[in-house]
């Protein structure tokens, strides 16, 4: 595989995968965890992500050029299956969730009558096409998307401040920390999961931990901003009622001088680009991991099978509430993927580097 000497595509890719979630599901996921002072759960999420990312990067840095599959497969048949199966399942679930949620957004927003299968087929074909192209191409596509859509999103974001009432930041402190006891807090933890894709990046280009952390800083800032914009515009109680708070906030902006009546259209298109990048990469990762674990399985059929599974699964979910329930059921899988996998990577990294140092 041709190595890309520039690190920019990799950093932009980390931004892109996060953007797809931050501007899409992040606000609702965090808003439902508690009644007020939402920066608290947001900061806890950021800390969790920073910690897990640190473990992951510390492990990956010790064994340059190795991804999840390379690290876990030498552990033996059973152990590698035990670690890789939940990872693959989790990747599949995240793609399912972003795909189904995006289809729901499109249905709520533009086309209430279009059958779900048509929307899902379009999305699945798009993701599959992206995954077939391979990780390198997804990274390159993301550079183009970032150049096209990040400015649009940032413009839309800043235009929302026109309607902001900063008094809604108060009350600032919730000393009960009740979100820690709530199921929603743990089921919403998928918002920190995009960092897991970093574990599949080493085969595409060199990673520098410091660079990755520097990339994460603006992303975390963006998390807090994206969460607070619906709060500042609608107030906390009303924002908590919205399913897509960000979409509604954007819809509320009235820019008479803008040629286009609704900024939301740009928003939906931009989100779709980043959601596609994220989901395509996850599908490709699934193909990669399965291929490495079972060398007899070629990548493309695995990707196609995963895509078909996504499509069927997406169709089987009858409505929005079921999607939310599904998030509750797979909480354990999420905790496993978010905490155990990075820890395992660090452990493998330590062992392998020690082994290499003292042969």
């Amino acid at each position: 595989m041709q190595r890309n000497p520039s690190r920019l595509p990799i950093y932009l890719f980390i931004v892109g995968t996060h953007t797809g979630l931050i501007f899409f599901l992040y606000a609702h996921a965090t808003l439902r965890t508690t009644a007020y002072a939402h920066w608290q759960p947001a900061v806890v999420y950021i800390c969790i992500e920073a910690l897990c990312l640190f473990l992951l990067l510390a492990g990956l840095a010790r064994v340059p050029g190795k991804d999840f599959a390379d690290l876990f497969i030498p552990l033996g048949k059973v152990a590698s299956l035990l670690l890789l199966t939940p990872l693959v399942a989790y990747f599949l679930l995240v793609s399912l969730m972003v795909m189904r949620s995006f289809a729901e957004l499109v249905r709520i927003m533009f086309v209430a009558n279009t059958p779900m299968w048509a929307l899902l087929a379009l999305l699945v074909l798009l993701f599959m096409f992206g995954a077939f192209m391979g990780g390198d191409s997804i990274l390159r596509a993301n550079v183009v998307f970032s150049a096209l859509f990040l400015p649009v999103l940032l413009f839309a974001l800043s235009s929302c401040f026109k309607n902001a009432d900063f008094h809604y930041l108060y009350p600032l402190w919730n000393s009960s920390f009740d979100f820690l006891r709530k199921e929603e807090f743990y089921s919403s933890m998928f918002v920190v999961s995009p960092f897991l894709v970093i574990g599949m990046l080493p085969s595409l280009g060199p990673l520098r931990p410091r660079g990755v952390f520097l990339t994460m800083l603006p992303i975390w800032a963006l998390c807090l901003i994206a969460l607070h914009i619906p709060i500042l515009v609608f107030g906390t109680p009303a924002a908590r009622l919205l399913v897509f708070p960000f979409l509604a906030t954007m819809d509320s902006v009235s820019l008479l001088w803008l040629v286009f009546d609704r900024v939301t259209l740009f928003y939906a298109v931009s989100i779709m680009a980043f959601v596609s990048v994220h989901a395509s990469f996850l599908l490709w990762s699934i193909g990669r991991i399965v291929h490495k674990r079972f060398p007899k399985c070629p990548e493309k059929p695995v990707i196609a099978a995963a895509a078909v599974a996504l499509f069927v699964w997406g169709l089987m979910i009858p409505g929005w509430d079921w999607l939310q329930n599904m998030l509750f059921w797979e909480t354990w899988l999420r905790i496993l993927a978010v905490f155990v996998i990075p820890a395992a990577v660090l452990w493998r990294g330590l062992i392998l580097s020690r082994r290499r140092a003292a042969p």
Binding site: Y168, L241, D251
Partner: protein, 357 residues
């Protein structure tokens, strides 16, 4: 000659043709009608009566169609209208949702929720209240729309015919304040004008989702001043002069003294002298305006506190001072006991090109 390797790609491309035209579920623009005003009132037989003002383009001009239907729910009434109109109703360009006064007084929470839920009605759509019969209002204003297609929007457009007395409230703000603990809105009360298209009667004070009173235009101007919503000059008449207020900045600060909320409001006005009768000095004129605005603002506050309506968002300044659990009781327990400390200062910018009469 097509090489066999390219064949699948070709087939895929041809198949894409069936999807790409995007002619699915989409009704062409000539098969749609785009209502601009929706009126919601109570029906005679069923609960709601929904009236729509629909501009229909004809060969040379536009014709205004006013249609209404009664049904138990809003969406039922709208789908009933859709059935009777030959084209497809498309609500995405709705500019104004007009409530009959009785509907507004009974509460508009469900109606606002309906409008927010469908994503079809833009959240920027403005809200207003009217005392008139809905259909005759829509018909009368429709006539002026025929003469000037944009006259309706100009009334509410800050860059066109909007006046600082007119309180503007959009759908999303109604949704915000219905659920907010510490903020309300004031909706404009309008009627069809005799010579002009619309006439502004004053503002409806809302408490959460219910209309609880009405204030005259000069008081609703103060609501806009308190919210820093003045982007235009406004004429004020005092005993001995006419002044054009060209700039205003209002700051509020909340504090709690002995368990009572105290709101400090500082209004800074800049005015230009337009006319004066007695030969008074600038200082005298300024203090006249100061005094007038302050007493009127205090009257307005008494009225709003009695009605438990908080369109200037006084409660917002206490969000950080009261515990979260107490915020829900803001309108009932704290707002009526609020002490207003209002401090107005006026600067006379100039007296025009002459110094004295």
């Amino acid at each position: 000659m097509i090489r066999p390797r390219r064949l699948p790609a070709l087939i895929a491309l041809v198949c894409a043709l069936t999807v790409l035209p995007g002619c699915w579920d989409i009704k062409d623009i000539n098969h749609r009608v785009l209502p601009i005003i929706m009126g919601i009132s109570y029906g005679k037989e069923d609960k709601y009566k929904v009236s729509l003002q629909v501009p229909v383009p004809t060969a040379r001009n536009i014709r205004i169609l006013v249609v209404s239907a009664e049904a138990a729910t809003l969406s039922k009434a709208i789908s009933h209208l859709d059935m009777n109109i030959e084209s497809n109703l498309d609500l995405t360009h709705m500019q104004l949702i007009l409530f009959d006064r009785r509907v507004a007084e009974d509460g508009i929470q469900d109606e606002i929720a309906f409008a927010m839920r469908t994503q079809e009605i833009p959240m920027k759509a403005l809200l207003a209240v009217t005392n008139e019969d809905m259909e005759s209002f829509l018909r009368k204003t429709g006539n002026s729309v025929v003469q000037n297609g944009s006259s309706f929007m100009n009334f509410f457009n800050k860059n066109a015919g909007w006046d600082p007395q007119i309180t503007l409230s959009a759908l999303w703000q109604a949704f915000e304040t219905i659920h907010s603990e510490t903020k309300d809105i004031a909706l404009p009360v309008i009627r069809a004008g005799t010579s002009t298209m619309l006439e502004f009667e004053g503002s409806a004070l809302m408490s959460k989702d219910r209309m609880v009173g009405q204030i005259p235009p000069e008081q609703s101007l103060l609501v806009n001043i308190a919210n820093n919503q003045i982007e235009d000059a406004v004429l004020e008449i005092t005993k001995s002069s006419s002044l054009l207020i060209v700039r205003n900045s209002t700051r509020h600060r909340g504090s709690i003294v002995d368990g009572r909320p105290v709101l400090h409001t500082r209004m800074q006005l800049s005015a230009i002298v337009k006319e004066k009768h007695d030969d008074k000095s600038e200082n005298e004129i300024a203090s006249e305006l100061t005094e007038q605005i302050r007493t009127r603002y205090e009257h307005l506050y008494e009225k709003m506190q009695k009605a438990k309506s908080d369109p200037t968002g006084a409660g917002q300044h206490f969000r950080g001072l009261l515990p979260y659990e107490e915020l829900a009781a803001w309108r009932e327990r704290y707002y009526p006991r609020l002490v207003l400390k209002c401090d107005v200062s006026t600067v006379i910018v100039n007296q025009g090109n002459i110094t004295s009469n």
